[in-house]
């Protein structure tokens, strides 16, 4: 039978329209529901203006509104302002208190998955585990490019979770780590900023060949006398890894939620860059059934030349998800 992977949407996807007040949060939820997505991922510091003092009435509004549209809140994206003060960094105790505050709001919203920023230290998270367990919230450290599933920093979280024997600490993969092809929208914007087509092609070819970024950056910056746009384009390679999708199977017990990052979908509902066609069969075979939560991040690459239509982009990604999930078979 086909996989039971669930489809969801992060409100991050509509940042252009939400920022410009062209959509409301409820518009975004209603749209997600209209394309069959059932999980709504929230960024309280983006979507809840009263944060951190979110009232019970506001919490009730969120729960009622998603329920009205047949959805549920799937994940809470936390932030941690370790640099809130200019004169000193937050102490460890202050960091734990801030995360505990988020865990409590997450629990009040009825959400059981929290996205932890990748820079949060494992020893801080270890101190938060008792609170996460008591509130039944899974803390997933975001595996975001240029980190990847087997980066030593990520393995420290895995090791901590194993040592504690907890089910409430793990990871939360961002699919940007599976960038198989260089995004055409990146290239096009750098060309508009002055990158010569032949230099842009060299960078794209180098990424396609999976040449380590520093070689390409040196070639472009020094040997080719690259201009500002060309060097900046080459430097994006540092953050454009193609990790092995097969590794997802091994780490599946450590994640409950996925941020389905994308930069552009074609009119034919294919992703020209991120290898969802390889990722989804691996997740299905592992019988993973959390949310693939759309995270559209293409607005910043096209807004200088064309209106952003986040809804159409998300709709196309979900058409692709339906196709790929429908084609899977699970072991059992």
């Amino acid at each position: 039978m086909p996989s039971t992977i669930k489809r969801g949407v992060s409100l991050y996807s509509f940042q252009e329209e939400l920022f410009l007040r062209q959509m409301t949060v409820e518009d975004a939820i209603a749209f997600a529901a209209s394309i069959g997505a059932t999980g709504i991922e929230v960024l309280p510091e983006q979507n809840m203006p009263s944060f951190p003092n979110v009232s019970d009435a506001e919490v009730a509004w969120w729960k009622d509104t998603v329920a009205k549209h047949g959805c549920e809140l799937s994940c809470y994206d936390m932030f941690l302002d370790t640099k809130i003060r200019k004169d000193r960094p937050m102490t460890d105790e202050e960091q734990v208190a801030s995360i505990r505050r988020d865990l409590e709001l997450c629990h009040r919203l009825g959400i059981r998955s929290m996205r932890i920023l990748v820079f949060v230290r494992p020893e801080i998270l270890e101190k938060c585990v008792p609170y996460a367990e008591a509130l039944d919230v899974h803390m997933g450290v975001e595996v975001h490019a240029p980190w990847h599933l087997e980066h030593a920093w990520i393995l420290r979280t895995i090791d901590t979770a194993d040592r504690l024997g907890t089910k409430h600490l793990g990871i939360l993969p961002d699919m940007g780590i599976f960038m198989k092809h260089y995004p055409p929208v990146f290239r096009a914007r750098f060309e508009r900023q002055g990158a010569r087509p032949e230099v842009a092609q060299f960078i794209v070819d180098s990424h396609e060949a999976k040449i380590m970024a520093e070689y390409t950056i040196y070639e472009v910056a020094v040997k080719m006398g690259g201009n500002k746009a060309e060097v900046a384009m080459a430097e994006t390679l540092r953050h454009a890894p193609y990790a092995n999708p097969k590794r997802l199977a091994e780490y599946a017990p450590y994640f409950r939620h996925i941020q389905a990052k994308f930069y552009e979908m074609t009119p034919e509902a294919t992703d020209p860059s991120i290898s969802y066609d390889e990722v989804i069969p691996v997740l299905a075979a592992a019988e993973w059934n959390g949310y693939l939560s759309s995270e559209y991040e293409g607005n910043r690459w096209i807004q200088d030349v064309e209106p952003v239509d986040s809804r159409e982009q998300v709709r196309r990604q979900h058409t692709m998800f339906e196709r790929l999930i429908g084609a899977t078979t699970t072991a059992s």
């Binding site: 991050y12 940042q15 939400l18 920022f19 410009l20 007040r21 960024l43 510091e45 983006q46 979507n47 203006p49 944060f51 932030f79 941690l80 302002d81 370790t82 640099k83 809130i84 003060r85 200019k86 920023l117 990748v118 820079f119 607005n299 910043r300 807004q303 200088d304």
Partner: protein
């Protein structure tokens, strides 16, 4: 990510002692005021002194200097919210077209360096 939207269109106006305009935070979430490290303004290619800048995200009545913002841990500039930036000068800004630039230097904790966002627009001050 939102550079072109930082300065709100058609918002430049003369005040009794200078000028004011409306602006948004170039970030995909809100940020406490203490983490707005600097707001750099130029008008007609002339830099504005840091001390001459006032910021108010409350809708009026609670302007802060940039130094005061640095230790304000209670107020925040919310996602997409329009705040007013005023500049105290010796006289009201003259009517007509003016080139205005704004750069926002933000202390985003997870970034290894400060985030810099910039916008430049030519706006008209009504006669």
């Amino acid at each position: 990510m939102f550079d072109k939207y930082l300065i709100v269109d058609d918002s430049l106006r003369a005040t009794a002692d200078g000028f004011a305009f409306d602006a948004r935070l170039g970030y995909y979430r809100g940020l406490g005021l203490s983490m707005v490290e600097d707001l750099v303004v130029t008008i007609d290619d002339e830099p504005v002194a840091r001390e001459a800048i006032r910021f108010d995200e409350t809708g009026g009545g609670a302007p802060l200097t940039l130094d005061e913002m640095e230790t304000n841990y209670d107020r925040q500039w919310n996602f997409g919210a329009v705040a007013t930036i005023s500049v105290i000068a010796s006289e009201p800004l003259a009517p007509g077209a003016h080139s205005l630039t704004l750069s926002e230097k933000l202390r985003v904790s997870y970034l290894p360096f400060p985030a810099m966002n910039s916008d430049a627009k030519t706006l008209e001050v009504a006669a």
